[in-house]
């Protein structure tokens, strides 16, 4: 089965590449297109109105939700003009979501042929969202977590903590400095550790394009002597390799925490801001990973075990090992009029 996955730059592309790799491992032929850095770095509307898009067995619109309707319209119009039914179109959130974030994401994708979700938790919420509406019978499929590489050896990870930074969080620009000072305090109190601040690309959700420098920028802009020597700011492009060498990953709510868990890292989610819908914290409420970072004396005193509760993980799609299987089955059963 041949698929064309349309992505956009930043976090979606990284996530879509991970999904594409797993689909290929499941025997599918996959091309990622629609933005710079993709296999097919062509404008998505041009790609969707071209011949290639009509020759595949599935088109995935794995972009920010607000972009989906226009892309879908382009594809269907092009197919209609070409006199062909076109392939089924599927779409879904590029990262696990919950509550308001999931609802606002899915509401933009309802006109596609198949909605892709990560796990049983998202599906349960989606069914309630669509209950009784004209979309109640919309086909849904669970693909699991898109990032499921094999765990990496731990031997060179000891003493490396990674803070997965997100654009736009905290959402008050004045909150950047207090967060950085907290991280600096932890680093200073933990001389045997390295604390790496790893920016993660924008997701295209509410945090996309948010104002204010990141913690890494603040470190680079200010005198180096102000910061502990074991507090380091990294480049966004390094996120995958950085996570691979982390003993523990800390974050407010970055989806890269799932990648970290898949790599065998411990994880902590920052609960100091409280459970905020805008920050996607409700997703992590049942994880058992949320702690108050301000209560930590040092990285030597990190709460154990740093592993999520099993049932919560299953609800995120952890046990779906091969996304190709359910996707192939779902696409095969769809018939385009």
């Amino acid at each position: 089965m041949k698929l064309l996955l349309i992505s956009s730059q930043g976090q979606p592309l990284l996530a879509v590449r991970q999904l594409a790799d797993r689909l290929r491992a499941g025997g599918m032929e996959v091309a990622v297109g629609g933005c710079a850095g993709a296999d097919l770095p062509v404008d998505p509307h041009s790609l969707l109105s071209g011949d290639l898009a009509r020759r595949v067995q599935g088109v995935g619109l794995l972009v920010a939700p607000a972009k989906v309707p226009a892309l879908l319209q382009t594809y269907r119009l092009a197919c209609r003009l070409a006199g062909v039914p076109g392939a089924p179109v599927f779409s879904g959130p590029c990262e696990p979501l919950s509550g308001d974030r999931l609802a606002s994401d899915l509401l933009h994708r309802l006109e596609v042929d198949l909605i892709c979700l990560h796990g049983p938790g998202e599906e349960e919420e989606a069914l309630d969202l669509l209950r009784g509406t004209r979309f109640a019978a919309k086909p849904l499929v669970q693909l699991g977590l898109w990032s499921r590489p094999a765990p990496v050896s731990h031997h060179d990870r000891a003493g490396t903590a990674v803070f997965l930074e997100q654009q736009g969080l905290p959402d008050d620009p004045a909150g950047q400095e207090p967060l950085l000072r907290l991280l600096a305090r932890l680093a200073a109190a933990s001389p045997s550790w390295k604390l790496l601040i790893q920016p993660t690309p924008a997701s295209g959700g509410p945090d996309a394009g948010a104002a204010g420098p990141g913690r890494g920028d603040l470190i680079r802009q200010q005198p180096r002597r102000r910061w502990p020597p074991n507090l380091l700011a990294l480049d966004p492009a390094e996120v995958e390799t950085t996570v691979a060498r982390a003993e523990v990953c800390l974050t407010i709510s970055s989806p890269w925490i799932f990648h970290a868990l898949a790599q065998g890292s411990r994880a902590l989610v920052m609960g100091d801001y409280g459970i905020r819908a805008r920050a996607n914290l409700p997703l992590f409420f049942g994880s058992g990973l949320i702690h108050q970072f301000s209560a930590l004396a040092s990285l030597d005193r990190l709460p154990r075990p740093g592993r999520p509760r099993r049932r919560w993980l299953v609800r995120q799609g952890w046990e779906i090992a091969d996304p190709a299987l359910p996707l192939r089955h779902a696409l095969s059963t769809l018939v385009r009029p």
Binding site: P65, A66, S98, G99, D100, A103, S104, L107, H108, L110, G121, E124, E125, D128, L129, R131, G132, T133, R134, A136, P170, D172, A174, G175, Q176, E177, P178, L179, L182, R185, G271, D272, Y273, G274, I275, R276, A277, L281, P282, F285, G286, S287, G288, L289, I290, H291, Q292, S294, A295, A297, P303, R309, R311, W312
Partner: protein, 438 residues
């Protein structure tokens, strides 16, 4: 047994809810005292209505929590914003423990249809003896959030969305009028509010034998929980000016009265949809802003009553057609099965039962908003630790408070004082820095 119940409310939407709650208790099952937290702009008409069936107090929360009569109630219902809910609960229990009296069951709930931030709101309400939910939809959401967590057993009760039990509809002698209930934040952008006005004007022009009446959420001089910049009357004037159709107008008359005397109701996503049903008025939902608009229209999609107001031409046909889907109504909580009677039953059972131990809200790996984690609670706890000499503990709490309120100067000053070195100077900085006295 007739229960004596204290209801505490702040904003006018919270007052509307507690008014409806207390009016709809069956018979003499309960006697209500409603504490209206003093604030500018509370509608006088609302206070008058409340006064007709309940005792009214006007006390700020701090005063109320110190009122010597607080221990005389069989139950206390608290309808405040999130952090205040948590603070009230903590302060109430601390006083009961300090003075040695049995704390009454505390309950809380929501003002109406919960369009957004439900999960967040539930985490502010955990620890209350009862959380009032509208219906099965909210029950399913809460169960999903709390499943497999230490809070899974949080008690709740379904009190429904019917608020107008005792108001008799005006019968068939109703005016050919569509009442449109403006919501301050739905939509919020000025351009979309102007569009909304144009949509209603267009409807008025296409249906000249109907009256289209806009009922503003607030009068121009009233405060409300949601602040806005331009009142709808100004938007109407600015957008239409002299071109306003003769059958389009505004009215500040009480919404219940308008609904009881009108045939149709319109809204983007107001809870008044259900009030309209109670009062025999057919509701319609303005769907012109789409579903993915953040205005809550999607919640009403399954009702079957979402319409494009730009395309509406025959309001008489809307009257003749089917009403809201009954399955959806039950799902939302608009059903005879759910009412304040369920709350009273639950409160009577709690009043008769041995007082349970205070629920533990702190569990490793879990953070709930209700666990004394608001900035003010953190500051208060920090001052207590400072008095005990635990500067490190106090600094930890203020560090968290500063994360939540990064621009708050007094938090920053107090935290800087706690971190001052050497220690003897730290005591000086603490003396000089502003102490939180809330």
């Amino acid at each position: 047994m007739s229960l004596s119940i204290l209801l505490v409310a702040d904003s006018d939407s919270q007052l509307l809810y507690v008014e409806a709650l207390s009016r709809n208790w069956p018979g003499d099952a309960a006697r209500a005292t409603i504490n209206v937290v003093p604030r500018d702009g509370t509608p006088p008409a609302l206070l008058e209505r409340i006064r007709s069936h309940a005792r009214i107090w006007h006390q700020p929360l701090a005063t109320l929590l110190g009122d010597p009569r607080l221990d005389r109630f069989d139950a206390v219902g608290v309808f405040l914003a999130g952090s205040k809910l948590a603070e009230f609960r903590t302060a109430y229990h601390q006083r009961a423990t300090r003075e040695g009296w049995r704390a009454a069951p505390l309950f809380c709930g929501f003002n109406g249809v919960v369009l957004e931030q439900f999960d967040e709101a539930i985490t502010w309400r955990l620890g209350y003896d009862l959380i009032c939910l509208n219906g099965p939809r909210d029950q399913a959401r809460m169960e999903r959030l709390l499943r497999d967590t230490p809070f899974a057993a949080q008690p709740s009760v379904l009190t429904g969305l019917r608020r107008q039990w005792t108001v008799e509809p005006a019968g068939m002698d109703r005016q050919r009028r569509l009442v449109f209930a403006e919501q301050v934040a739905m939509p919020a952008p000025a351009a979309e509010r102007r569009r909304m006005v144009r949509l209603l004007a267009g409807l008025a022009q296409r249906c000249p034998d109907w009256e289209i009446l806009i009922r503003p959420r607030v009068a121009p001089d009233e405060a409300t929980f949601h602040l806005h910049e331009t009142h709808i009357s100004q938007t109407l004037q600015q957008e239409l000016g002299g071109r306003c159709p003769a059958n389009l107008s505004l009215s500040d008359a009480p919404l219940a009265g308008l609904l009881a005397s009108s045939l149709l109701f319109g809204t983007v996503s107001s809870t008044a949809f259900f009030d309209a049903l109670d009062l025999g008025c057919r509701p319609l939902v303005m769907g012109d802003f789409g579903l993915a608009n953040g205005y809550g229209t999607a919640v009403f999609e399954a009702s079957g009553m979402v319409r494009s107001f730009a395309e509406l031409r025959d309001l008489d046909a809307e009257l003749a057609g089917p009403g809201p889907d009954p399955d959806w109504l039950e799902w939302m909580g608009h059903s005879d099965r759910f009412s304040a009677a369920a709350l009273l039953e639950a409160l009577q059972a709690l009043a008769a039962a041995p007082r349970p131990t205070m629920p533990q809200l702190r569990h490793p790996g879990f953070v709930v908003n209700a666990a004394d984690l608001s900035a003010n609670q953190l500051r208060r706890s920090a001052e207590a630790l400072i008095r005990q000499g635990d500067h490190a503990g106090a600094a930890s709490l203020l560090e968290m408070a500063q994360l939540q309120r990064p621009s708050h100067r007094n938090i920053a000053r107090r935290l800087a004082a706690l971190r001052g070195e050497p220690r003897f100077l730290r005591r000086l900085w603490l003396l000089l820095s502003p102490r939180y006295r809330g």
